[in-house]
Symmetry: C2
Subunit: 230 residues, 2 copies
Amino acid sequence: MKIGILGTGVVGQTIAEKLVQLGHQLMIGSREKQTTLAKTGKDNFGRPPFSEWLKNNSKVQFGTYSEAASFGEFLVNATSGTGSIEALKLAGENNLANKVLLDISNPLDFSKGMPPTLTICNTDSLGEQIQRAFPKLKVVKSLNTLNAYLMVNPGLLPEATNIFMNGNDLEAKSEVRKLLTSFGWNSKDIIDIGDISTARGTEQILPIWVRLWGALQTPLFNFKIVVGNK
Amino acid sequence: MKIGILGTGVVGQTIAEKLVQLGHQLMIGSREKQTTLAKTGKDNFGRPPFSEWLKNNSKVQFGTYSEAASFGEFLVNATSGTGSIEALKLAGENNLANKVLLDISNPLDFSKGMPPTLTICNTDSLGEQIQRAFPKLKVVKSLNTLNAYLMVNPGLLPEATNIFMNGNDLEAKSEVRKLLTSFGWNSKDIIDIGDISTARGTEQILPIWVRLWGALQTPLFNFKIVVGNK
């Protein structure tokens, strides 16, 4: 499959590496190619600059948001939440129409320091805002509730855990489910919570996620939903 | 121990039953005794009226918020979140001073129908509001992330799950931890996330909790945090 990823940070890179391994054709996009390539030094996670990553991942094509969105039959939003709507606008409505978007973004505001707060919550969600702004796009929120390395390697944890899906389009959710199972997720562990408004719930997990990272002293954890007998 | 519970709903009743079984002396309090006793018919959960419950739980004393708070050396807030601050005001600041309050409340707003939204979130929490309003009270938020029957019966689920604690006072958290282990929780499964501001995280779990109840078709579930090797 031809897949376009918006966002060149740790989430975009990690997802891109996995998708290349799985045999897909990949283009990863940023706002301005030259600015992204000109970055030097390590990022906030201690990772090398993007240009070095790109050299080491030569099968990944690199383009603008618009080029990546045009290239992909299937799209992934791995931009930071505060920039997601603008990134999708730059991608171009025509390049988005009728495509599935796996939306991994979270509306986190780090501008007031740690821990981050949410720029959107309670009566709305970033998933819903994206769906409203681009009605022809089939937005499926998923994978936004765990660390990037775990997204593509659920087996790193000692037992099976859960991820969630939110979206209005059943067929699009079925496509995302297929992709996630190719990442190593058991289909039964992917919980379809409902339409895109249920993204309020998954995005609002972030505040406890961030604090658990502190309490547990590692970002390598995930939620497992344990259900009793009905 | 002499324990005062504020709130006569399903959470207050369930906690009271367990505490009586464990040999504690109990008083459960409501805003106006006569109004609470005059209730007829089943509640939203299909449970009989409070007066009938009280008859069947004759070891539980019944009083006003103020009487229950005065009676208890240890207090439990099981009121609905929108009424918690007022309930504690009626309980009386002198009856609260220097006592531990296990705060189980959630700031849920059902006034616009289902699913509920939160009356407080993101940059504040009900736990923090209570702590600010009553600085001498030692507020420990816990048990607010799961169904009442599971609070006092964690073994109803097929495997061990987690609950969280938030609070500023370490000694108070240690007292709450002791009480929770007497309910059947393993001490290692009670995660102390940090000071009372971390209650933002646990209270904001409610939106996904409510939607998972819908998706899973049962309220008998809980979160287990699965941690990888560091």
